[in-house]
Symmetry: C2
Subunit: 433 residues, 2 copies
């Protein structure tokens, strides 16, 4: 039995994800699939539209065999740490032979050679990460960081500055601006993490069509991005609108969550607690939170005064007020996530993150997944956690608390929903028929 790893969010799981899932098994020639999935808060700095258990069930119904939760310490991070956490989780299982990711380029060797050269630059300049301090957000070579910083100073956003600096380092062997594409960037970081972790998994990539649109083998009538689907669902009383774009089980699970008052969850759900927190936090205390960099604490304090809740959705107004060319929406949302969840820089220091995931939290499994779990008793390099209540780690506390905050947005949450991590065993597909 060969196993492939995939890194997912399924917010919500749609037909494009099914395509990627089938292709991942096909190109890697594997039978079983381990999915590392973000929990309650996601890479773009947003709460998940439905809880992690519902999304786990979607993944299992599609055919994933084991779903592991990417700790929120990594899941709501820029590409470098997100990728590092996810790859470290797959490696830590000891049972994953390969991993597969989507990219705009589809050219593994291009990405891999870029990752190797970035890693060599790291090693040349900081062989043991010896010069990395808590102030350094990345594990990148200092000269490369300098190159990014100088581009930031010229007003570029971080992703643009990164792409420009990396393009320069890599001597721009490609004519087109391939590094500026988000899934190429993420893929590059998966491969960079693999180098850094001396990983043994074999990487594969599948070429993504532009934002999953215009695929020739699947008609437009069946494919839409997760962002587009969340927009369709926003403010809706039921989930009818997404029917053409998602598998039947996604629709059924979403509808169940809607009817139970557990969805949809969005930033609009958290404005009251976020606003109260922002209002009572001094700029100097604000600067202690993750992602509050470069004096953004003062900008937040000023922009808070621009919000007019009587004139529309207040979180959206806050984002509009905060936005500049320099700060992407994603960066600002990640910052708000850290503030809402009380995640300080000191809780997320490079020293803490560099160890990789310190546990593997099991969200769900099939019969084949159960066999994998059994094998992992011998192979896993970190504890495998099936009961959150019986394991303690600061990162796990953060995961549990973030799920509680997520659930606090439900219509009238029960205590079992608010503290579901303590009550809920992993989702088992056999139980769900």
């Amino acid at each position: 039995m060969k196993t492939v790893g995939i890194i997912v969010e399924y917010n919500p799981l749609h037909n494009g994800h099914v395509y990627h899932f089938e292709q991942s098994k096909l190109v890697s020639g594997t039978d079983t699939v381990v999915a590392v999935m973000s929990g309650s808060f996601l890479q773009r700095g947003e709460p998940a539209i439905v809880c992690k258990w519902a999304r786990t069930e979607m993944a299992l119904r599609m055919g994933a065999d084991l779903v592991l939760e990417l700790p929120v310490a990594y899941s709501t991070q820029p590409a470098e740490w997100f990728a590092y956490g996810a790859i470290s989780a797959l490696e830590a299982t000891g049972v994953v032979d390969a991993f597969c990711f989507g990219s705009e380029s589809g050219d593994l060797e291009l990405l891999r050679s870029a990752a190797r050269r970035l890693h060599e630059a790291d090693n040349r300049e900081a062989p043991d990460h010896a010069d990395m301090t808590a102030g350094s957000l990345t594990g990148l070579a200092p000269s490369f960081q300098d190159a990014i910083r100088s581009r930031l100073k010229s007003g570029l956003s971080y992703p643009s500055a990164y792409a420009a600096a990396a393009g320069r380092l890599l001597a721009e062997e490609s004519e087109e601006d391939w590094l500026a594409k988000p899934n190429n960037t993420l893929g590059l970081h998966y491969l960079l993490a693999l180098e850094r972790l001396h990983g043994t998994m074999r990487p594969y990539t599948i070429q993504r069509q532009k934002a999953d649109y215009n695929q020739t083998d699947i008609s437009d009538e069946r494919i839409a991005s997760a962002t587009a689907l969340r927009k369709l669902l926003s403010g809706e009383a039921d989930t009818e609108a997404v029917r053409p774009f998602v598998p039947a089980y996604t629709r059924r699970i979403l509808q169940r969550e809607w009817e139970a008052g557990r969805a949809p969850v969005s930033w609009a759900s958290f404005y009251a607690p976020l606003f109260a927190r922002l209002a009572v936090t001094s700029p100097s205390e604000m600067a202690e939170f993750g992602e509050v960099t470069e004096g953004l604490e003062h900008r937040i304090a000023r922009c808070l005064h621009e919000v007019q809740p009587s004139a529309g959705e207040p979180f959206e107004q806050l984002m509009q007020a905060l936005k500049t060319k320099r700060y992407t929406r994603t960066k600002l949302q990640r910052m708000m996530t850290r503030i809402l969840l009380n995640h300080r820089k000191i809780d997320l220091s490079p020293d803490l993150l560099r160890g990789g995931v310190p546990y593997l939290r099991v969200l769900g499994f099939t019969a084949a997944g159960q066999a994998l779990l059994k094998a992992m008793r011998k192979t896993a390099s970190v504890p495998v956690v099936t009961k959150a209540a019986s394991f303690r780690h600061p990162f796990l506390d953060m995961d549990i608390r973030s799920a509680t905050v997520h659930a606090s947005a439900y219509r009238q949450p029960s205590k079992a929903e608010l503290f579901r991590d303590y009550y809920e065993p992993p989702v088992r597909l056999a139980d769900e028929v």
Copy 2:
């Protein structure tokens, strides 16, 4: 012109308050009245039912000439610091000749002699407050604190332990348990503060009828406590229910606030931000907040798991879960206020509080009040603040932030309402006709 000071909350202003107001002028033989009023959060650890500007207007319409805001650093405190802050504010004006408070006993000499003996004990044991550390919440003599502590250990609540220890110190010259009555305790602390501050105001007390009920000169049909009135108003779409118990202007102002979506504000309005904050705060961080004493941080974490928002009002459930014989509802609510408002012990240390109010924030005035303000340019011992935006002090920041949090509970607050402290000049009665 002689001036009397009163210490008020007016939550809301009712017929019993009018009686106290008239009596205060009468017994002190004064013409003008300065009211020191709590702002957005009150002594019992509750948000005010309507904002401080609306309550200022009530006070001015009744006849108060100048309304000053008691900083939230003092307003949401046990009796000792609440009284100390309020008396320091009246003294700091330099224009108040007398102050008058209600008490169950009505016996000024009994209270005054008790206050003097407590103050002598302070002086004997800690003449310069030299041994007071940040851990000591009160300015009381160490031996008296020990006496309170030993009674706390036997399971008494703080007010009961205080009354028992003070009764002992004062050799129980009274047969009845007069110190256990809340307004006697508060009165004792006003007089103790006067001693400590070497105040020059002449004190007066007016005997309160039991909870303002059964007064002979005002029939029961017109008198109810503020607590009873808030209960009548809770969840009501209009303010009709309180009509018999309040002056016409109170009713009109309340109705205006109701119709504008700015009232009623209660703890139920803040459950979402409070819960989110409690959920993401570790016990050790929780212990840094004001009033989180004696391991209550662990009790909060446990009790949070008892809350079932689907089964009723969640703040009430949390209070029920937290409550023991030892902790009064008031103590627990003050603790929640400190957590909601992000007030840490270090922000409210005895060293900071002992200086008395560091500014006099003017909330409103009449023509006579304006004359007082003019006189205060020469007499006031601290800055007189009429524009919050043009003065900076950590306590004033706390006042402004607490008003922002209070306003965030409005139906759909405008930014002018959220940050009203920056926009709103003092209420002037002449403008309000």
